[in-house]
Subunit: 321 residues, 2 copies
């Protein structure tokens, strides 16, 4: 590049690293930049971050389960909003890494901010990230973590809304589906607790119903529902609700007369069933909102941790309840 | 850390950077490592890669559309398999970046390998990545790209199988759904071409049917199908097929007697419909297989580009065709 620009290698380095230590004339600067463009030079993010002391990387662990359309849309919006603020969003594929090991792997990339969904990190993890140069750690989960900003995703509320709706519709023996697939506990446990809380002190009962995401498991559960005499089920989300409702119908159960079924997420596919599926509509925060929180936290790493409840939940009643 | 270990800062640097240039006794080395552990020291991937001349980062652009369960499972398996080979998988959230701009953003992270799905890169992009230190570029798409290894995802075959199946079932006026949602063209275009190819030289006709992923759009299309006198539809995938089939049924069309409907992806939800949805089952390559290809390519960057067709497609006939 020095040869092409007709300058010394040191000059190239001064110009591309934008060092203020040495005065370089504008024409020389331009020649170096033109040569760089011609040669397809790309700055090294690592080298830049070593020099600057911090990177522009916002790191998130890649989701270990298939994200639904709702979460995918949120993620795209977030990446876009952070991109506009000149951050680079990087999803770290730490499948198989847990706890400390995962945190250390993230820290190696020296992110300026880390967004951790679920129960993926404790106070020690936050400390490791901060020691490694992260200016902000933001958790998305049911509980705040010391030292981190918290976007509180209140899944208890989702269950509470479903339970209260079923009770108001006159149902008393309520089943709650808990998926057997691993990785969903951080959502399913608080949803179950929410139904229990909604029914506390009433004449209603709550029964936990494990369900695997396949037709055989659904057929077995449909039979069990009959034996338990349940008159309603909150089926975790719309996909499990579709699965269980079909199995109940195949078993001759009339929906909603004999058993009411409600899901969550408000998927379009739920509206295609007959009866149309009732659901709990969930509002995730906008990507813009989260991006602004990250940027605020990066600019002011000393500020007190923010705690924001961000998950809205409203029942959409259709025909299945 | 030097204070805690009771050694000089230079010694700490020599030990942690594993420099061979200076001889350091085993007890000193141990003291430094113990102090590092105690202080929660995390090595800097960027600094390590600057020293080593290359990183262990395998970069993929994050998918801009909601990945279905099929692709999510493949991605998890791939991340896991690459993790076992000591690579770090990083998904780059380049929403809003295109072409050269995206490639340069990827290159800044100095990945040792880049996996690009779809039509995301051309020969110049491959060259930029290689100049920036990538030892291997692997594309996943319908066409190979000069300088890159190619995993050929043959979506033409998916459409071909669907078209041949419908023709064999006696259907002659065949519609093919093309989603209006952007980002799906790289799948929908070759699928449409595949149906055309399957029907070429026969007495069958193929009609392109744009469809948005919502009920209103589906209701309009159902009416149009009637006007066109179509006796079969390949509905791009199972989700669009579920949407259109419901709209046809609501319009009083008997499935499959009047109109046969087939999807693709073999989603579990398609089996829940009545009639059960016929589909094209798609086999993605195993994550292990792709991880091995990446590792082979990284170890031997001079080897000739591999071109492997990796997408299997077989019709699963249920009740809707």
């Amino acid at each position: 590049m020095a040869r092409l620009a007709g300058v010394s290698r040191a000059t190239v380095s001064y110009v591309l690293n934008n060092t203020g230590a040495v005065r370089i004339s504008e024409p020389t600067r331009r020649r170096v930049h033109e040569a760089a463009r011609e040669l397809g030079y790309v700055p090294h993010a690592a080298a830049r971050s070593l020099r600057a002391g911090h990177s522009r990387i916002v790191l998130m662990p890649a989701p270990a389960i298939a994200p639904g359309p709702l979460y995918s849309r949120y993620l795209n919006e977030l990446q876009w909003a952070l991109g506009r603020l000149d951050y680079t969003v990087v999803q770290h594929g730490n499948v198989g890494l847990h706890g400390d090991e995962a945190v250390r792997a993230w820290a190696e990339l020296r992110p300026v901010a880390v967004l951790v969904p679920g129960a993926g990190i404790g106070p020690e993890g936050v400390a490791v990230l901060k020691r490694s140069g992260a200016r902000a750690v933001v958790t998305l989960g049911p509980e705040p973590v010391d030292g981190a900003h918290a976007l509180l995703m209140d899944n208890e509320r989702v269950g509470h809304r479903a339970g209260a709706h079923l009770y108001a519709r006159g149902r008393r023996r309520i089943g709650v589906v808990v998926p057997e697939e691993s990785g969903l506990e951080i959502f399913s446990r608080p949803r179950l607790a929410g139904v229990r809380n909604a029914l506390r002190g009433t004449d209603g009962t709550v029964t936990e119903l494990p369900l695997g995401y396949d037709e055989e498991s659904a057929a077995r559960l449909a039979e069990r529902c009959r034996g338990l005499g349940l008159d309603a089920v909150f089926a975790y989300n719309d996909e499990y609700a579709m699965l269980l409702m079909r199995a109940l119908q195949d078993d001759g159960v009339r929906i909603p007369e004999e058993t009411a079924v409600i899901g969550a997420d408000d998927l379009m596919l739920g509206r295609l069933l007959r009866p149309r599926l009732s659901t709990v509509h969930i509002d995730l925060p906008s990507g813009r909102y989260v991006a602004d929180l990250v940027d605020r936290a990066v600019r002011n790493p000393g500020a007190a941790a923010e705690r924001l409840t961000v998950l809205g939940a409203t029942v959409v009643q259709r025909e299945s309840t």
